[in-house]
């Protein structure tokens, strides 16, 4: 006990020093705040200051790349270098770096994210093989990151790669993408989504930064139900099962809107979560079986879809399942639920599968050679890349390949999808420009990628009449 006072004194001494240091920091913090106030909202310096790859900062540097007429007078800033890309196809070209934020290892959509990213790599490889864009090759591999379909991880990885990229070639998942939108807005970074949320069609939601392709989940479920009403039997009760948030929510909002328009009963939105989170889909199965719905619209992952379809049928459910795009994977045919899937599950897709007859499909097959991809993710990745390519080309044409220049090019941008989708224009009224056609597939062990199309170019009365003025959910 005798040492106590001494010891206490010693501690207080340390404390005092700690406080002094803390005080010094507080001073420093204040000091740096004092000198600023004139600066903040000057975005032009923001952009210039963000550049680390100083080589590409000004037109002078760009001008040296004399072998291509277009590059001579193109302004560039972040994410564009005069150095060739690593492993460049055209070593004389500069390099445009695009980021990829995908689900590549353990997330619930990794099975889709990996071929999706491969499809995008193939797309840009083709662009580079054809000479690149305006004297630049495009590289998406260097800044590819795995974000596990998690908004927080997505944001962390976005902030990691943002200083080095011009735009995002892919940002996978509705909620993860929403998580980084404010940052993207501040940084003037545009991106292609790997998600079909209805909100991407509206500037209120995406600040005009997200270049989506094809329909939305919300219209998807309406087209699917319209199709089921005409080709199976008009449903009297419909149920939505999905993940929480804007993927499942958007799909469920479409189901609810359809029920309202067609005087059917909306059985509710059963929220479930990936198997890794909830262990099994038994709870959802119980609710599906107990609901007595004629048609259930699923907006979950592939394994979960199989569990729900298989489990519900085994417990005596006799209705029909319609699955949103991400619910299908060819491997499900070999699962215990395979037969149940063939019998009671129909897959809704935004465009034709691998056997389509358009120039885009031909290019996709050519890029694949003899190998089939694991699933349709490859095609999704390919299709989603067209708008970014169009935006980069438009920016080069305007002589402004800066982030701000690329962003400015989006308004009124015309995108040619080589036939896989009708040409699209960005920046107009969503109600006019929204894509309202789908393809309905049936699981089929004989078909390539495990499905064969039941009907192509499906449109529906409810979906066509739907007043599309804001995000559904």
């Amino acid at each position: 006990m005798r040492s106590n006072p001494v010891q206490r004194r010693g501690r207080r001494g340390g404390m005092r020093r700690g406080v002094a240091i803390a005080g010094a920091f507080a001073l420093l913090a204040t000091a740096c705040a004092v000198d600023d106030d004139d600066e903040p909202d000057d975005t032009s310096t923001d952009v210039a200051e963000g550049t680390e790859d100083a080589e590409g900062t000004d037109d002078g540097a760009a001008g040296e790349d004399g072998d291509d007429g277009a590059a001579g007078d193109v302004n560039v800033d972040v994410g564009v270098t005069e150095e060739p890309c690593p492993e460049a196809v055209n070593p004389d070209n500069g390099c445009i770096y695009l980021g990829v934020l995908s689900d590549l290892s353990e997330g619930p959509f990794a099975a889709l994210g990996i071929p999706l990213t491969a499809g995008q790599e193939a797309f840009w490889q083709r662009v580079n093989d054809e000479g690149g864009i305006g004297g630049y090759d495009v590289d998406i591999s260097t800044y590819t990151r795995d974000t596990l379909y998690d908004p927080q991880e997505h944001s962390a990885r976005y902030r990691e790669i943002e200083p080095n990229i011009l735009a995002l070639a892919q940002t996978l998942g509705t909620e993860p993408t929403e998580a980084i939108l404010p940052d993207m807005d501040a940084d003037n970074v545009i991106g292609a989504p790997a998600t079909w949320w209805s909100g991407w069609a509206f500037e209120d939601n995406d600040f005009g930064l997200i270049l989506e392709s094809g329909y939305s989940y919300c219209l998807e479920s309406q087209i699917g139900l319209d199709w089921a009403g005409e080709n199976v039997a008009p449903p009297s009760t419909v149920l939505a099962v999905g993940y929480p948030g804007d993927y499942g929510g958007d799909s469920a909002a479409g189901v609810e809107a359809w029920a309202m328009a067609n005087d059917a009963e909306f059985g509710g939105f059963v929220e479930t979560a990936p198997d890794a989170v909830v262990g099994s889909q038994d709870a959802a199965i119980g609710q599906v079986v107990g609901s007595g719905a004629d048609v259930v619209v699923l907006a979950v992952g592939p394994a979960e879809a199989a569990s729900i379809v298989g489990g519900s049928l085994a417990e005596g459910y006799e209705g029909l399942f319609l699955g949103s795009v991400p619910t299908w994977d060819p491997a499900l045919l070999d699962s215990p639920a395979g037969e149940a899937m063939v019998a009671a599950y129909r897959h809704i897709a935004p465009w034709e599968g691998i056997d389509g007859e358009t120039p885009a499909h031909e290019a996709i097959r050519e890029s694949l050679g003899d190998d089939l991809p694991a699933n349709e993710g490859y095609i999704f990745g390919w299709v989603w890349s067209y708008p970014i390519k169009a935006a980069l080309e438009a920016a080069v044409e305007n002589g402004d390949l800066t982030r701000a220049g690329v962003r400015a090019a989006v308004d009124g941008l015309e995108v040619d999808y080589e036939g896989i989708l009708p040409s699209a224009t960005f920046g107009g009224e969503a109600n006019e420009t929204a894509v309202r056609t789908a393809v309905i597939n049936q699981p089929d062990p004989e078909g390539s990628l495990g499905v064969s199309p039941l009907q192509v170019g499906v449109t529906g009365a409810t979906a066509d009449a739907y007043e599309y003025t804001a995000a559904c959910a």
């Binding site: 290892s105 353990e106 619930p108 990794a110 099975a111 990996i114 929480p244 929220e271 479930t272 979560a273 990936p274 198997d275 890794a276 989170v277 909830v278 262990g279 099994s280 889909q281 038994d282 709870a283 119980g286 609710q287 592939p302 394994a303 979960e304 879809a305 199989a306 569990s307 379809v309 298989g310 489990g311 049928l313 085994a314 417990e315 994977d329 491997a331 499900l332 070999d334 699962s335 215990p336 639920a337 149940a340 694991a374």
Partner: protein
Amino acid sequence: MTELISSGLVRGLGIGSTYALLAVGFVIIYRATGVINFAQPALMILGAYATSVLATGAGLPFPVAVLAAMAVLAAVGMATERVALRPMVGRQPFAAAMVTVGVLTVLFVVAHRLIGTQVRTVGDPWGLQRAELFGVSVAQVDLAKIVVSMVAIGAVGLFLARSRLGLAMRATSMDQEVALAQGVDVGRMFSLAWGISAALAALAGMLIGTSAGGFEAITALVALKALPVVIVGGLDSIKGAVYAGLLIGVAEALTRLYQPRYAEWLGANVDVVVPYVIMIVVLVVRPYGLFGTREVERV
């Protein structure tokens, strides 16, 4: 009523018996070495993978494939013990438990690499078929889970109770030094404990992999539910592991069945936390679980 039996009790006992299987694995390792083996989830999913490869890939008859997978995993478990855990003998149990966490991280990546992102199936004969049990239609796979787990646990119990090696293992778990003095090769007992435990994990992995959607690498996390099970039963009690496994399995199944109807305000997927809630309640009342031995404190 039929729903209560088929989706409640039978389903619950089915999943509960796989928890029991995993929990017995934990207990055997704990008794032999005083360590909680956090690597069990990875061993479980590798077991499911091995079964899948042998049964659907190599085309072995299903029971042979299962036994072979158990043997493979027993070897993996023994190797793990020899490489990572043997050097930790005599060190704090917490440090050794952390080593198994490191092993979990490594083996989990291996499992991911092997399984890939595609859904896999174990090629079991039960599928989604139903059976009649006292006039109630229940899933065959649930019955299979109960029967297979109980047979396996019974065999392990018999081995521990009756065989010479089992006796040696029990002696080791009581007092390592005395066992050593009696001529028991303690190191071999550690190795054996890991082998048995990993084989049981592989079996549990096969049972969990029978799910209608197949299994993925991430399914491994289900095995973490065996942790509250062993705590509820008592870390060193095989009997406790079995009772607690069944109890928690049934509680989970009943929650899944009735909570969305009667207590929706608790939120979605409450069954996930049920094991942990039960565990906390039990620990408040009995700090060493239902059947665990109270630690004797000596100064």
